[in-house]
């Protein structure tokens, strides 16, 4: 059942413009030791929309994202970004890592983090000029963190830290945005602010991919869904791939029947 679904989706999507896809992954396997975390996964991200990567805990969601970015080296598989190898397209990708992955006592201010998004423009020795500062401030403004620019990052709440990370990604002015659990453990105001920014990116024709864990908000936030549980379970529009059937096969017994009923009712 799982394989059938995956095969169906794979074929239908392979027909569309595979070569120019913002992110195309073929046969990706990543393993920690002898246990694959992601096994032979194909993924084709549709341009100009918002895609959610969902699946149970330990299903390889973050691993998939990190391998797609070359942070982890895969055992096998290929990644292309807008039809070219990843290494040639670094400038077009912005990554927002999980908040817990850094030490927030690091001696740096909010504005310094936003400026890291401009490291390509600044180069090794370039001075930070007024136009760099104003662009960084502009990005902080978009996530509602302008007033915090001079604060040490350790003084921020979790949601504010997440927004600073998003501002750093915005400063890159990329075409493809990859976010790892941006809504995990953040307050409602932050979730609203982040989703507004992501929607504005989408309206500007950018492509957004989000590792997401909250099944209740999938239909509200996203256009496409990629379901994974080590292997690909389903891929497609929310209507196609986010169904009681696919969820059942991705989550197995881990999702209560009542939850599945609720979601399928919400889907109509």
């Amino acid at each position: 059942m799982m394989l059938e679904l995956a095969a169906d989706q794979g074929v239908s999507i392979a027909d569309s413009n595979l070569d120019d896809s913002p992110l195309a992954i073929r046969g990706l396997t990543v393993s920690y030791g002898q246990k694959p975390a992601v096994f032979s996964v194909d993924m084709t991200v549709q341009p100009g929309g918002m895609t959610a990567i969902i699946g149970p805990n330990g299903a390889g969601k973050s691993t998939l994202l990190k391998a797609a970015l070359g942070i982890l080296s895969p055992l096998s598989g290929q990644v292309t970004v807008y039809g070219k190898p990843l290494e040639q397209q670094r400038a077009r990708i912005a990554y927002v890592p999980q908040r817990a992955s850094v030490d927030w006592d690091f001696p740096t201010r909010v504005i310094d983090v936003a400026l890291m998004g401009l490291s390509r423009q600044l180069g090794l020795l370039g001075r930070i000029r007024v136009r760099h500062m104003s662009r960084a401030m502009d990005c902080l403004n978009r996530v509602g963190m302008r007033d915090f620019a001079d604060r040490q990052i350790g003084q921020l709440s979790g949601g504010q830290q997440q927004r600073v990370f998003l501002a750093r990604a915005l400063a890159q002015e990329a075409d493809l945005y990859l976010l790892d659990e941006p809504f995990a453990g953040v307050d409602a105001a932050t979730e609203k602010a982040i989703i507004a920014v992501l929607k504005s990116l989408k309206e500007a024709g950018k492509t957004v991919v989000v590792v997401h864990h909250d099944l209740a908000t999938v239909t509200d936030y996203f256009d496409h869904v990629f379901l994974i549980n080590t292997r690909k379970v389903a891929e497609g529009t929310v209507a196609e791939a986010f169904t009681a059937e696919t969820l059942q096969s991705a989550y197995g017994g881990r999702l209560a029947t009542a939850q599945i009923d609720q979601i399928s009712r919400a889907l109509g």
Partner: protein, 401 residues
């Protein structure tokens, strides 16, 4: 005597040592900062201990080919090669085996140092070995330092400093968020290796003055000291270079001011002096500041709680609260509010309501983050803003007779 030393008037050798130690202090402090930010401080200990076999083997090779076994460039080149091998071993152990970094550091440090000591013993049984003074590389020995030696230290230190300045941005990015740096296409492992290579260069350059056992102190103490004074990484780098250089200069001068004082250990002790002062007296992050802030905060909490209790006509049970209110002239000994106390209590209650509004309003988020239950609202909002809030929450109007 000390003044003569500080003003570099104690003779040629002392002046050379002081200049060399200052330069070494600056470059060690600056380079060490990135190691400290990357949380790899102890790597420097393994690197420095791994220099010993190289020094010994270089000496043997120099003697075997009929050269002068004390040629500093030759010895330093040997130490650099073995330190680099030690570094690669450590890197390999951490990345390719299941050993954690601390275990890899321990393994490399002890094995290389043990091997070095064996070679040192062998050299001392050789005829020429006894006068070689190689054991001076363990703790540094500045007696008889030559102009050429000082020049090597100066050039090495300056070159390291320039390289650090060139790659400071990528090193900072990797130290703060290695995953993001990798996603941007930065070669994280090569940057780490470059950082450790620079640490190795400082170690090698510093062998003559402080020796391989204590060089780790010059790399780590200055950034830790600097961290007490600032929350910005570029300023940590600057301050670490400053305190490192100052410690090098003062330490060298101190050790020259009296006979038989070892230079390296005195530099380390001076450096520690700066650290201890910062630990105790630095604003915000220092121990004393933390204690004072806590006491001040406690007093403010008690007074605020007391005022709110007065405003709502509740009895105050806590003796400390009552004592503080009394001392401030806000309440009498029996717990009844004075006129000033009544006014302040009413204001406190009003502020609570205003804060409640501010914290509920998304537009005031930056202000709301400052809420600690104590702050006077007029310190964070303008009079107009407060008036606007008062209008929205309503409340006591002008009292008409």
């Amino acid at each position: 005597m000390l003044w003569d030393a500080l003003s570099l008037q104690l003779g040629y050798n002392a002046t050379l040592v002081a200049i060399g130690a200052t330069l070494l202090g600056v470059s060690a402090g600056v380079t060490g900062t990135f190691l400290f930010l990357r949380k790899r401080a102890l790597v420097s200990d393994a690197i420095s201990h791994a220099t010993l076999p190289g020094v010994c083997l270089a000496f043997m090779a120099l003697v075997a080919f009929g050269g002068d076994g004390r040629n500093l460039i030759g010895l330093l080149a040997g130490s650099a090669i073995s330190a680099w091998i030690g570094l690669l071993c450590m890197n390999w152990l951490t990345r390719r085996t299941r050993l954690a970094e601390d275990a890899a550091i321990g393994a490399v440090l002890s094995v290389f140092f043990g091997f070095g000591i064996v070679l040192l013993t062998v050299i001392q049984t050789m005829g020429v070995g006894r006068q070689a003074g190689l054991e001076g590389f363990l703790l540094g020995s500045t007696a008889g330092m030559l102009w050429a030696d000082a020049l090597i230290i100066a050039i090495g230190g300056a070159a390291t400093l320039v390289l650090v300045m060139i790659i400071r941005r990528p090193m900072t990015m990797v130290a703060f968020d290695p995953e993001y740096a990798a996603a941007r296409g930065l070669p994280v492992h090569r940057i780490d290796l470059a950082m450790m290579g620079l640490v190795m260069a400082v170690t090698v350059v510093g062998l003559k003055i402080v020796g391989l056992i204590l060089i780790v102190a010059l790399l780590i103490i200055p950034p830790v000291t600097a961290r007490f004074w600032t929350d910005r990484s570029d300023r940590v780098v600057l301050l670490a270079g400053l305190t490192g250089g100052l410690a090098g200069y003062l330490g060298a001068a101190l050790s020259a001011s009296a006979p038989n004082l070892p230079t390296g250990p005195i530099i380390v002790l001076v450096s520690f002096g700066f650290f201890a002062l910062s630990l105790l007296f630095a604003p915000v992050r220092g121990v004393l500041a933390a204690v004072l802030q806590h006491l001040k905060f406690q007093r403010r909490v008690h007074i605020r709680q007391g005022l709110l209790a007065l405003a709502q006509g509740q009895k105050i049970y806590e003796p400390l609260t009552l004592r503080l209110l009394k001392r401030a002239g806000l309440a009498r000994a029996d717990g009844v509010a004075t006129e000033a106390g009544k006014a302040r209590a009413a204001k406190a209650l009003r502020d609570e309501k205003r804060w409640e509004f501010v914290r509920a309003d998304q537009a005031h988020e930056a202000t709301a983050a400052l809420y600690d239950g104590l702050r006077d609202i007029e310190t964070v909002l303008t009079r107009d803003q407060i008036a606007e809030i008062d209008r929205l929450i309503g409340g006591p109007q002008e009292i008409r007779p």
